[in-house]
């Protein structure tokens, strides 16, 4: 009897072990219908706080339960890939346009045109919608967008008598003038312009702003055909110019700099200009308020003046296509309620001058906020660029493309550019390597 009991207990333990995974899956099924799970990459405190507040408000309005999960940007593709593989994708995801492209390529999100119509399509800045378009449909609802500009020290420009540069030659000359040895010890204390080349995302972001300024794209914006391979000569020129900037006007350690380093450098006054999406303002407001009014921005000029496009992106809400018709309707309604002008403006204002709301009505509220009061000219410049210029995120020149997430999740751009900066290979070889890698990514996607 005792032995039989021992055997029984052991068998029960084994069955628990072996079938643990299965039972978890079955248990998760009914829970998903009761609760809306939302993933967001916004782990910055201020943004996450506003999102959580709004999600809680909307959940209370609708009488549903909501769970917000923050996924750091660096872990996004790892988590998304495993979630897609295991079939446990969130109900709603708040992610960047590249993340949206990835989810679209996996065929797991809904087209959101009906919700956009319900919110009011005319109120959306049309270029925001265009980025999320594929096959004539819109696969996410743009929340806000960011635009890369050159943020600079107005006081130093004035002190050195520098005018806003209109082409690359002027830009380099301005940066050289801004290499400042403050204490006369023969060492540069303020560098003109950092070239951050951290291989994880930052290097391609820096490089693409210059590529777009010179007219080089991954894909043809009109036809969607791969074009980088046929523009290699131009890409070499861009690489040479960028590395020249690195060697002459950028701190040597910037080869490893990521977002924090170059933003802090401007805010702390150890560089005079930097490419950025405006996050320097929030950082200055928090860490060095005296610097805020000294900062201004201008669009990086084109190679010879005329600029074909800029680097920019944004965040969107996407909805998974899993679940019953009722569940899908609930998710869509949840999103719809997030798009009042006030809520859209509040989300963008959680990161002032970095995030620009997707609704015209929200932009009006945004402009009146005290946190951006000093930057009306800059808001006008950036809003104008959003509406009247071309802006793309790497690989998304022709709309949603998984190439964007492939570039974002790999480090080959950084590796190639760092090699040139360190004199380990020529710019021609680096561009050949980038071309070969891009073509390999295309073959993987296809």
């Amino acid at each position: 009897m005792k032995k039989a009991l021992v055997v029984l207990v052991l068998l029960m333990m084994m069955s628990t072990l072996v079938f643990a995974a299965g039972s978890k899956e079955t248990a998760a099924e009914p829970a998903a219908s009761k609760k809306i799970v939302i993933w967001t990459n916004l782990t910055a405190d201020a943004q996450a706080k506003v999102l959580r507040k709004q999600f809680t408000e909307v959940a209370a309005e609708m009488g549903v339960e909501v769970e917000m999960v923050t996924i750091s940007f660096n872990d996004m593709y790892t988590k998304l890939a495993t979630a897609v593989e295991s079939g446990n994708v969130p109900d709603i995801m708040h992610t960047n346009f590249a993340g949206t492209a990835y989810l679209y390529s996996q065929d797991i999100i809904l087209n959101m045109d009906d919700v956009i119509d319900k919110i009011g399509k005319d109120d959306f800045i049309s270029s925001y919608l265009h980025v999320l378009n594929a096959e004539g449909k819109t696969w996410g609802i743009p929340d806000w967008a960011l635009h890369t500009s050159v943020w600079y020290r107005k006081d130093l420009f004035q002190e050195k008598g520098i005018k806003i540069p209109t082409d690359w030659a002027e830009f380099k000359a301005a940066a050289q003038k801004l290499n400042i040895d403050e204490d006369g010890d023969g060492k540069i204390d303020v560098y003109g312009f950092p070239v951050p080349l951290n291989a994880v995302q930052v290097a391609p972001q820096t490089y693409y702003e210059f590529l777009y300024s010179a007219g080089v794209t991954t894909f043809d914006p009109k036809t969607g055909k791969y074009t980088f391979g046929s523009q290699k000569k131009k890409a070499v020129e861009v690489t040479d110019y960028l590395i020249d900037l690195y060697k002459t006007v950028s701190p040597p350690s910037s080869i490893e700099w990521s977002w924090n380093e170059y933003r802090n450098a401007l805010v702390e006054g150890t560089v005079a200009m930097t490419l950025d999406m405006g996050a320097v303002i929030g950082l200055a407001q928090n860490n060095n308020p005296e610097m805020v009014e000294k900062l201004g921005c201008f669009d990086l000029p084109g190679q010879f003046g005329n600029k074909p496009a800029s680097f920019g992106s944004g965040y969107a809400f996407v909805v998974s296509n899993s679940g019953s018709a009722t569940e899908i309707e609930t998710k869509k309604e949840f999103i719809h309620r997030l798009y009042t002008s006030e809520r859209a403006a509040e989300r963008a204002l959680s990161r002032p001058m970095f995030a620009f709301p997707s609704l015209y009505s929200a932009l009006e509220i945004y402009k009146q906020s005290p946190s951006v009061a000093l930057f009306q000219d800059q808001i006008a410049t950036i809003s104008d660029a959003f509406e009247n210029s071309n802006w793309y995120w790497y690989g998304m020149e022709h709309g949603l493309s998984q190439m964007s997430s492939q570039i974002e999740a790999t480090t080959f751009f950084g590796e190639a550019l760092q090699s040139v900066a360190l004199g380990m290979q020529t710019s021609v070889k680096a561009v050949d390597f980038i071309d070969q890698q891009l073509q390999e990514q295309i073959s993987i996607i296809e």
Binding site: K3, V6, V7, L10, M13, M14, L17, V18, Y77, T78, A81, V84, E85, Y102, S105, Q106, K187, I188, Y191, L197, N198, A199, V200, P251, P252, S253, S254, I255, E256, E261, N264, A265, E268, T270, Q402, Q406, A409, T410, T411, G414, E415, Q418, S419, A421, L422, M424, E440, Q441, I444, I445
Partner: protein, 290 residues
């Protein structure tokens, strides 16, 4: 008579004991089958396919993944980085430590993320204290960071890794040293042996098995260690700290090529297996030759 009864009782109980023994080991065998044997076999299987995380379908491509690996010039660089990283970390860790044990245990309980953040902070070219010292001593340029220079970035990683994982061998050696019979030293002393002779002829031989195990474990753990290099340098600058685990990670979650990543991990696994077998056999044959 009494002994005979005992033997008879043993025989009578053996089949039941065996059954019970088998039942007891079934959970572990099931665990190993599910979490070790199956993943390894599946990994080998995937290495002969063009499986990708972003596509459900895949096909067999024979040895194409392996051909691609061995024709990729970067692979050799990354193998070299892996060898430097592993060998430097293992060799530097072989010395044993005694005093200040509690203090020395600190790095073992600090999370890799915290170590990485502190390392990046102190190595920052603008405000990092270590970079500042190096700049002041003229070892690196003004506003340069050791993490932005290929050779020194790897050196920093190795030093941090040695510091982080030092306590484990220290504890094991300490436990082994405590287990050596003190009478052996007393006897050696009576026979006129000095400290060095006692160390060479008593302490070291007693540490031999521990050292073999530690070196094997360290080779495997270090060669497959991903966290610190990824968090501190991300494999840079210019791929100078990219080792095979980073390459595998990039292939899996960067380009989503699970088949290719599987081939890389098979190569890494096989190389480690061969290294370990070679090392253990070499050590045993050296000892038996003495």
């Amino acid at each position: 008579m009494g002994n005979l009864r005992l033997i008879r009782q043993d025989r009578r109980f053996r089949p039941q004991q065996q059954t019970l023994g088998i039942i007891f080991i079934i959970p572990m065998v099931a665990f190993l089958l599910v979490f070790v044997v199956y993943p390894v076999l599946y990994n080998i299987f995937l290495s002969f396919t063009n499986a990708r995380l972003i596509k459900k379908d895949y096909s067999f491509i024979n040895f194409d993944n392996y051909k691609k690996i061995f024709t990729d010039l970067r692979f050799l660089t990354y193998v070299k980085n892996t060898v430097v990283w592993t060998v430097a970390s293992v060799i530097n860790r072989k010395s044993s430590g005694t005093g200040l044990r509690s203090f020395l245990l600190i790095p073992y309980v600090v999370p890799a993320v915290a170590i990485a953040l502190v390392t990046k902070w102190v190595m920052n070219g603008d405000y990092g204290i270590i970079s500042y010292w190096f700049q002041t001593l003229g070892l690196i340029e003004h506003r340069q960071s050791p993490l932005a220079i290929p050779g020194s970035a790897m050196a920093v990683l190795v030093i941090v890794n040695v510091w982080r994982s030092y306590p484990f061998p220290m504890l094991i050696y300490w436990a082994t040293l405590k287990g050596i019979d003190k009478e052996l030293y007393e006897a050696a002393s009576v026979d006129g042996a000095g400290t060095i002779q006692s160390f060479l002829h008593i302490t070291l031989p007693h540490l031999r098995d521990t050292t073999i195990v530690l070196v094997v474990l360290r080779i495997v753990w270090t060669a497959t260690y991903f966290d610190l290099p990824w968090l501190i340098t991300g494999g840079g600058p210019a791929g100078s700290t990219t080792h095979l685990p980073i390459m595998i990670y990039q292939a899996s979650f960067g380009t989503f090529q699970t088949g290719y990543a599987s081939s890389l991990s098979v190569i890494l696994g096989l190389s480690l297996f061969l290294c370990v077998v070679f090392y253990v056999r070499k050590t045993i044959s050296n000892d038996s030759g003495r």
